[in-house]
Symmetry: C6
Subunit: 74 residues, 6 copies
């Protein structure tokens, strides 16, 4: 896979949150490399509350990592 992650450092907590989202998406991409299949799945999980909550949980876990890497932007 191409280079997509150079650093866990971000300028702000919000950019860190957006990196956490990117990490979550990349986790899916590595497991299901087909963009076509991923696009087909999107309408279903993005309109299902439990799936959305599950996505948000993954983002929260990744945000712990990114926030620690940035020493919580203190």
């Amino acid at each position: 896979m191409d280079k997509w992650l150079m650093s866990l450092k971000t300028a702000t907590p919000q950019e860190g949150f957006e990196l956490a989202i990117k990490l979550s998406q990349k986790g899916v991409e590595y497991t299901q490399p087909s963009l076509e299949i991923r696009k087909k799945l999107r309408p279903k999980y993005s309109t299902n509350a439990d799936s959305l909550i599950a996505v948000t949980q993954v983002v929260a876990i990744n945000y712990q990592t990114v926030a620690a890497a940035n020493n919580y932007w203190r």
Copy 2:
């Protein structure tokens, strides 16, 4: 997306908890940007015990991050 997160610092543990809730909601917003769809989903998950517990878990994970960022308000 507009700026919505300037800092993980909060004045009190309770404000930190409320920030953890906001982070959880933002995780959903990034994944499902349509306010209309999110509003449709709300009546269902907010009256389903298992969905509520799942939301609470995401909040708990985000609260770990916020609490650490505030050095646990010690």
Copy 3:
């Protein structure tokens, strides 16, 4: 919401555990503010093993936070 969380400090590990339970309940309250609806949900999830286990998981996550805030009562 009223002030309900002044500190993560507790005198003992057991009081910390009880605070973790309170944090878990508050997570639900913020998401579903109606006491009436929450009361209706209770008989179902409190007699369902998988729901109970899920609640316990949220408590365990919150207990990590409270325990760290108290330096593990060492």
Copy 4:
């Protein structure tokens, strides 16, 4: 509730694991105080693989807390 948790300190990693199990059970007890109901639920979840895995996950989370409290018995 009676006093049941005086310390997170244990003599060995194994006793710490057993404390993590106790914490997990207590989480259920606080949510469902009726011993009768908990006994009824046991045959079902203890013979269901997915429920057992979920219990084990809660134990693993609590073990993180206990292990940290004991500085990993180093």
Copy 5:
């Protein structure tokens, strides 16, 4: 139960991973002590993708503990 866990220290990261698997299995054993029942459950969960993923999650959580105990084998 017999003594089965003397230390969280392992010589290598891989042995630590294998200890994390053992911790996960022990969590199940404490909850369901019957070897007979556990053996019956195995064919089902070990051929079900979602159950396997759930097992792997427990292993990942336990591996966090073991890795920290070994200071990440640095």
Copy 6:
């Protein structure tokens, strides 16, 4: 099992992410050693959104471990 994990150290955050994926896959392999069965399961979970999200969660947990082991590549 053969030696497959020599170190948690990686040169970059991205290689660390890829190691987290490997750890997740290995967790499955230890639980279901049959390559044949694992191959059969793949088409199903890799086209199911909820299974993919669950995989991604395991990766996120393992990435926490790898990132900590590398001091977040700071």
